[in-house]
């Protein structure tokens, strides 16, 4: 019994000593923890729960308090939210890379920020999770064919950049059923109209039918692949969604011997698509917005990735000189960017027309005559002056 007691006391003494040591060790660790983030780009992140399959989040998320631009510049990579499954806008290729119109605008912003168009981490997001991803700081900016609406701008707490693509809901039907490009919504009275469920397209077509005073037989499917399948096998007379998607489907899936037509010429809804980011991050927003404007201005002035080096050496006018960082009164430095930020955008990614033609022409979407033509050609693509 006495031996046991002695053992107990000895053990307790050792334990006490060791606890003291452990506690003091802990204090040291604490200091390291506090100072590390300011000293190194990759702080010690031992505070992560150890039992999770985390790839270490080595960046502090402070969309609420800190300045997003500084955070992103310190990180050296842009986290860009895309769809990953939107034809011609952001497609995931078999090697995992992202291609498309939206993906290229992610690259353009990265080129402006870091001078490296490949410094992007793409985060493919579903429609449901896209705004949460911005709010939690998982992504810095959304390039995910997101329509600019009043509720999203206010209630949801997003801010929207300049529209890069003016889309609108249209209808598609078979020429053999008596439809043509000049058909109107009234012409589809009594037809089986198909679209995908749970989207605004469903509401839009119902509203348009009401406005035209016709009855339609509206059928919905889970996704647009199924809608197209049912259109091909004849279960649907008319299908409807954003015009850009319809053109892509027509180009790729129209069977031989049939001719699909898209109408009405004026879409039944407005769908302006562009970059989306969290509220109240003006400096970061400026960078995204002016990256888009830079591609548009470059397009107006005929500056493209092929001739940008010459243009920077011999600027056609003062605005181009400022934009390409070839003049002393350039504004990029005031934005927290390198003077040649937009030069890099044009050189590495291209101007608006290049980006558009590269991805949207192959699926049959052209700028001529559409809202996406430049303002000088009667379209809506317009940028404020760079001065």
């Amino acid at each position: 019994m006495t031996k046991n007691k002695a053992l107990l006391w000895r053990a307790l003494a050792v334990l006490f000593a060791v606890t003291l040591i452990a506690a003091s060790c802990g204090d040291d660790e604490g200091d390291v923890e506090v100072t590390a983030p300011t000293e190194t780009a990759a702080p010690a992140t031992d505070d992560e729960p150890a039992d999770t399959t985390t790839t270490v989040a080595d960046v502090v998320d402070d969309t609420q308090d800190g300045d997003l631009l500084d955070t992103v510049l310190a990180r050296g990579e842009l986290n860009c939210g895309v769809s990953g499954s939107a034809v011609a806008f952001s497609e995931t290729q078999p090697d995992g890379s992202q291609t498309g119109f939206d993906a290229d605008y992610c690259r353009a912003v990265a080129a402006a920020l870091f001078g490296d168009a490949e410094a992007v981490v793409f985060t493919p997001l579903t429609a449901a999770e896209r705004f949460t991803a911005v709010q939690t700081g998982e992504v810095d900016v959304l390039m995910r064919n997101t329509t600019w609406t009043q509720s999203r701008d206010t209630e949801v707490g997003m801010d929207f950049g300049p529209t890069t693509y003016y889309d609108g809901q249209q209808l598609m039907a078979r020429e053999g059923d008596g439809f043509s490009g000049a058909s109107q919504v009234v012409d589809i009275a009594g037809a089986v109209v198909c679209t995908n469920a749970g989207t605004t397209t469903e509401q839009n077509i119902a509203d348009a039918a009401d406005a035209a005073g016709i009855d339609i037989n509206l059928t919905t499917f889970e996704d647009f692949d199924q809608v197209t399948e049912n259109f091909i096998n004849g279960a649907c007379d008319v299908i409807t969604t954003d015009g850009s998607a319809l053109v892509g489907r027509k180009a790729n899936q129209q069977p031989a011997g049939e001719n699909w037509v898209i109408f009405p010429a004026t879409p039944i809804s407005k769908e302006p698509l562009g970059p989306t980011y969290g509220q109240n991050q003006s400096r970061f927003a400026d960078v995204v917005n002016w990256t888009v404007y830079a591609t548009v201005i470059a397009d107006e002035k005929g500056i493209n990735s092929g001739n940008v080096a010459d243009m920077a050496a011999n600027p056609p006018d003062a605005e181009a000189a400022r934009l390409l960082g070839a003049a002393d009164d350039e504004q990029q430095s005031n934005m927290g960017l390198a003077p040649d930020a937009f030069y890099q955008v044009i050189a590495q990614v291209g101007n608006y027309d290049e980006i558009y033609s590269r991805h949207l022409n192959p699926v049959g979407l052209t700028r001529e005559g559409s809202a996406n033509a430049g303002w000088l050609d009667g379209g809506l693509i317009y940028a404020p002056p760079a001065r």
């Binding site: 307790l12 506690a23 604490g30 031992d46 505070d47 150890a50 497609e91 290729q93 493919p124 998982e138």
Partner: protein, 714 residues
């Protein structure tokens, strides 16, 4: 004899012993039946059975034909799956780092080979009779498939099938007539079968086993197949090639069928009936030969290559794109065979029992090491490792070793308990401190301390002599070494740079999430089951509440919570990565179900077992670990494996919470690539096939496990 449970025959007396009690040696030796006799006894034994046989064979043939026509139709774009093969399995994992994937596969091959060679009961293997029958049956099924599938459509230069004139369809030929009346012809055939059956029955010849009725019915099935084949020419609006052309186009398939059936027939004819049934080959060798033929065929015909390299599609189907498929698989097969043989040698040397525990430990450790050390390739910050990680690991190993050494002293008695409780209190205080931010400390110090406290609580159950205590200390030191190493790896950023935010996706993520879910959920489930059957009300109530809550909530809700909502509750500088969230959600959910399965097993352990272990002076922990759990888990194997398969398949829900798993790539991503717009069915069929292969193998394995452990027999 515990076999009486639930077996009505047992009450009837010993006259008719049921199969389970009759050893294999007692089975009467019956000579094999000839094919005709077998058919007569099994498929055409009575008029009604004959009718059922004919009708259901026709239905099966129709279904198989539909599946074949769908799979091999010229409308299928299988190139979409082939091109995206690597993408489907590993998503965006970089090509220049691909060796890491193969290292992982190799590690699993090595472990599997060793385990099977070392531990599996060899049994008698597969009898030659079964082998040859299986070979012949496979050849026959392939041949039937070749004949059943409709002839390919004739396509133009652009791959679009030619359509026949509407006026030409049907026509006055026999084929046209048959096409128009195919359904009627089949109905007539079935009716003829009924009439035949009735006639033979009235004649009284049916049950005497004469050959006529069987021949007649067999002929009917063949005629029906013929109708199906002939009808194919005129099916639909598409122009199809002739039957002879179709058969010669499928020469490779004919060759495969002939080789398989030929090999089977050679085995069958080469051995007498007695030798066929009494010669056995190990199942693994059969597998090796099969896998070897597959791998070899990849060297001969380039079916294993994908056609996408550095941003370019390779359209030439015959062109070899890098040595990325056949060479690695050859190496994997060689590794598997070599380690299997090594395992057998070790077993022959008597190392089996000694290596069983280390091997099982390796299996548990492998997923962690493969994921964090091999796939993620951590970028270790050596300054931090040497200044902090290493000293801390050494400290906890030494200090904890000392504590364990003390507490495992056989005469420690109450003192040990007091120390252990103090340790638990300190460990708990550590976590409270973490919550209030009182004194900062590395999380892994807190976890190590908690582990130590738990070990301290259990130590006196393993008290023993010097050697025994040394063993305990060694186990503790090894645990600390592995734990601290892994935590250091987890906390280091990865050097593998992928174009997206996820390291790996596709089937890789399916497997990783499933494996980690099981590793987390299994211990949790066992603990929950024990808590639910505990005598302490607090444990019982908490565990019951947990189980009922998680079983009452849909899995998808749990997943949404952990991937989308949970992050909003975390402090500013913490985020839970999607995959981690999903794994936690799956684990918590599966644990509730596993707990109920284990509880069923616990209730099957008889009261006498508890009393007996009390009688020999076991503590509660000893009784649970050594007496109750082994019996309970053995009983619950079938439901546990059912749960494992369910969890594996449920990982497809990852697609809905936005993780690029196998299913989401096939369903959403491939169909959005410009080249393969809307191509979806091929991917879905392929994905189901892969899921089926894995689930089927798991279920087969559990059947073997049940047999080995004698579940349901004793």
């Amino acid at each position: 004899m515990t076999a009486t449970m639930g077996d009505p025959a047992a009450g009837a007396g010993p006259v008719e012993p049921w199969d389970g009690e009759r050893g294999p040696a007692q089975k009467p030796e019956e000579p094999s039946l000839s094919a005709g006799e077998w058919l007569g006894r099994n498929l055409f034994s009575s008029p009604v059975n004959s009718l059922l046989t004919v009708v259901f064979s026709l239905l099966v043939l129709l279904a198989v034909r539909g599946l074949l026509n769908f799979t091999f139709s010229e409308e299928r774009t299988w190139r979409a799956v082939k091109t995206n093969m690597r993408f489907l399995f590993t998503h965006a994992y970089p090509q220049d780092q691909y060796a890491r994937i193969w290292v992982c596969v190799g590690a699993i091959a090595v472990l599997s080979g060793l385990s099977v060679g070392l531990l599996a009961r060899a049994g008698r293997g597969i009898s030659m009779k079964k082998l040859s029958m299986n070979l012949m049956a496979t050849g026959g099924v392939i041949a039937l498939g070749i004949v059943l599938r409709e002839p390919s459509a004739i396509v133009d230069d652009e791959g679009v099938a030619l359509h026949r004139d509407a006026s030409a369809a049907g026509g006055d030929s026999f084929v046209g007539w048959l096409d128009a009346n195919a359904f009627a012809v089949l109905v007539v055939l079935v009716l003829a079968n009924v009439a035949l059956a009735v006639w033979f029955h009235l004649q009284g010849t049916y049950l005497r086993g004469g050959p006529e009725p069987r021949t007649a019915h067999g002929a009917l099935v063949l005629v029906s197949v013929g109708v199906l084949i002939v009808q194919q020419y005129a099916t639909g609006e598409v122009v199809r090639e002739s039957f002879a052309d179709a058969m010669s186009d499928r020469a490779w398939w004919w060759l495969a069928a002939a080789l398989l059936a030929g090999a089977g027939a050679a085995l069958w004819l080469g051995l007498g009936d007695a030798r066929r049934r009494n010669t056995f080959v190990p199942a693994m060798y059969v597998f090796f030969v099969g896998a070897g033929v597959m791998v070899l065929s990849a060297w001969v015909y380039p079916w294993g290559h994908y056609g996408f390299l550095e941003g370019e599609f390779i359209n030439e189907p015959g062109r070899t794109v890098a040595m990325t498929t056949k060479l690695p698989w050859t190496v994997m097969l060689v590794l598997l065979v070599a380690t299997f043989e090594l395992g057998r040698v070790l077993r022959a040397a008597g190392a089996g029992p000694k290596l069983r525990v280390p091997l099982n430990l390796l299996w548990v450790l492998t997923p962690f090491v493969l994921y964090w050390a091999v796939l993620r390739d951590p970028d270790l910050d050596w300054d931090h490792v040497l200044s902090t990680d290493l000293p801390m690991a050494v400290f906890f190993a030494a200090f904890g070793g000392l504590v364990v050494w003390f507490l495992a002293h056989p005469r420690i008695g109450e003192a040990g308990r007091v120390i252990a409780v103090v340790l638990v209190a300190v460990a708990a205080l550590n976590w409270v401190a973490a919550y209030f931010g009182w004194y900062p400390m590395l999380q892994k110090a807190r976890i190590s301390f908690l582990l130590l406290a738990v070990v301290a609580l259990l130590a006196h159950n393993f008290a023993g002599d010097r050697a025994q205590r040394m063993k305990l200390v060694a186990v503790w030191v090894a645990t600390m070494a592995v734990f601290h190493w892994l935590v250091t790896l987890v906390n280091s950023p990865s050097t593998v740079d992928t174009p997206t935010d996820a390291l790996i996706g596709g089937f890789g993520i399916t497997l990783i999430v499933a494996v980690f879910t099981l590793l987390l959920a299994f211990p949790m489930g066992v603990l929950l089951a024990l808590a639910r059957t505990s005598k302490l009300p607090i444990f019982r109530v908490l565990s019951t509440a947990y189980i009922e809550v998680f079983r009452g909530v849909p899995l998808i809700t749990v997943l949404f919570f952990f991937t989308l909502i949970f992050n909003l509750f975390l402090p500013d500088n913490m985020t839970l990565v999607d995959i981690a969230g999903a794994t936690i959600g799956f684990s918590l959910f599966s644990a509730a179900y596993l707990a109920e399965n284990v509880r069923g097993g616990l209730q099957a352990v008889r009261r006498g077992q508890y009393e007996a272990s009390d009688a020999v002076g076991f503590t509660t922990v000893q009784r649970t670990l050594f007496i109750v759990l082994p019996q309970a888990l053995r009983v619950s194997i079938p439901p546990l494996v059912g749960q494992v398969i369910a969890t594996f398949k449920e990982t497809s829900l990852l697609a809905i919470v936005g993780i690029f798993d196998f299913l989401r790539i096939a369903d959403k991503v491939i169909s959005a690539q410009s080249e393969f717009l809307g191509v979806k069915r091929e991917g879905l069929l392929f994905v189901s096939f892969i899921y089926w292969i894995f689930a089927y193998n798991m279920s087969k394995h559990s059947q073997r496990l049940e047999k080995r452990l004698g579940v349901g027999e004793r």
